[in-house]
Amino acid sequence: MLASTASFINATGGTNGDNPTELTRSDVDDVIRTLADNNAYTISANIRGEDRFGTAPVRDAYFALASTKLIGDLENVQGFIAKAQYPSPMEALREEWCSISNLRFLVSSIGSVSVGASNLGADVYNVFNVGMEAFAVIEQDGYSSQFLYRPPIYDGPLALNASVGYKMAQVPRITNDAWIINLRTTLAA
């Protein structure tokens, strides 16, 4: 839903010769500036600095939802702070990878990818940068999803096979388009 309807910008600060380019600090700054201009609230609070070697304070941040394919590129962006370098790593989320300026990156193996969508035909990775309450999932009929299992005795006269399935009754909605930006990026050459 976010890939189909949310507004986006292309990363343009990189040097891989494509459009969009790979992710750079200037693109991160563009996103933060735009969200802040639109009065989006950050989602996470500051993590206060502590007197520990190799750590750095983490700013209050918007969340950036990205593909795990971007992990290498993220580490090359100026201002990269791995979650192991947080003063209190216990405050990082399990799926969190890093913080860059006022963005905290959450990565997933099923992060959004637009196949062959760059100028040179490369895959484009959609990084959804969201402020607080930018989008929501509305549950229908009192549930969001159901996992259904029918044991063999109920699934056929010879009780040979079981079946499983799931159904969902929910609607994802962007509540304020100004508080979400899709930063499209390719991988570094």
Binding site: T5, S7, N19, N119, G156, S163
Partner: protein, 324 residues
């Protein structure tokens, strides 16, 4: 037939291919051309068609009817013009064709390709790496309404550009999953009520609220982030008219090749058509338009039939499928 889910239906052919939405994925399908079955046929002609999972795309088996000819009542394996499984959330792109030899400096620009492009008017095409016209790379375009042949297709809603040379294209088989969708802008007029033209057939309706995203590369920066209501649409020009006064804005100019990389200008749907306090607030809710189904090819020897043929169909799901 324990555990089989069956769906059935009927349609009258328009002579064009038909896409049927079928629940739970389909493992087999039978189609009967009632019009052909209802009359004597002097030449062998398709009357019934069958497909099951494991057959290649666009194939199937046809049964021919001919009451008078010697070649009557034949069973025929179809090499093409048959059944094709659809999953619109999967494989939305066709293969890359590095066949573009030129894109003209015209309005609309016309792309010339080697070989046969096999496109139809209204198809959506994504261009990549067009020498001399890199600004078109990665963008989608509705093509073929103005000019279409085996070796040419027009970028229907694009303004005049500097000519490009070699490049690649691929067909975008299905729309993005959710409606309403953001669309790239090809032009915005400077007028009391701004008219916005988009590169792909937009699908918007009067009353919807949209936001304009206009990066500096396009010139008309005053329009950036403005929100407006659609007051009119024009399907011929693929434009929407907004209640935004752009008459004093800097002229909109589609970027040239040397500007790459840049972000495209966009129309972003942000609100629903609420004309009164009693309107349905969800009438423009974001809708998942994906579906599973079957595409039936058209023609006298194909399951979707010829124009005005009445077609009956039934589809089912097998308990298990074994294609060793």
């Amino acid at each position: 037939m324990d555990n089989t889910i069956i769906q059935q239906g009927r349609f009258t052919s328009t002579g064009e291919a038909v896409e049927l939405q079928i629940r739970s994925d389909v493992d087999w399908m039978r189609v009967i051309n009632y019009t052909i079955a209802d009359a004597d046929q002097t030449a062998a002609i398709g009357v019934e068609y069958y497909w099951q999972r494991g057959m290649a795309a666009d194939t199937g088996i046809s049964y021919l009817k001919s009451n008078a000819a010697a070649a009557a009542n034949l069973t025929n394996a179809m090499a093409s013009g048959g059944f094709t499984l659809l999953d619109t959330s999967d494989s939305p792109l066709g293969p890359i064709n590095a066949t573009i030899t030129a894109i003209s400096a015209a309005a609309p620009p016309v792309s010339t390709n080697t070989g046969v492009n096999a496109l139809s008017a209204g198809d959506v095409v994504r261009l990549t790496n067009v020498a001399g016209a890199q600004q078109l790379g990665g963008l989608d375009f509705t093509v073929g309404n103005a000019t279409l042949s085996d070796t040419t297709f027009s970028l229907d809603y694009m303004p005049l550009i500097v000519a490009g040379t070699t490049g690649s294209w691929r067909k975008v088989n299905f729309q993005p999953q959710f409606y309403p969708r953001h669309r790239a802008i090809s032009s915005i007029s400077a007028a009391q009520s701004a008219v916005v033209i988009m590169t792909v057939t937009h699908g918007f309706t009067v009353g919807q609220e949209v936001k304009l995203v206009v990066p500096a590369a396009y010139g008309m920066v005053q329009a950036d982030s403005l929100q407006g209501k659609i007051t009119a649409i024009n399907t011929a020009t693929n434009s929407i008219t907004l209640d935004i006064d752009s008459s004093a804005f800097t002229a909109f100019a589609f970027p040239v090749s040397a500007i790459v990389p840049f972000s495209p200008a966009l129309v972003v749907p942000v609100g629903q058509a609420v004309e009164g306090t009693t309107s349905n607030l969800l009438d423009d809710a974001t809708i998942n338009t994906s579906f599973l189904g079957m595409k039936l090819a058209a023609g006298t020897a194909s399951p979707a039939g010829a124009n005005a043929n009445v077609i009956y169909w039934v589809a089912g799901k097998s308990y298990s499928v074994s294609n060793a």
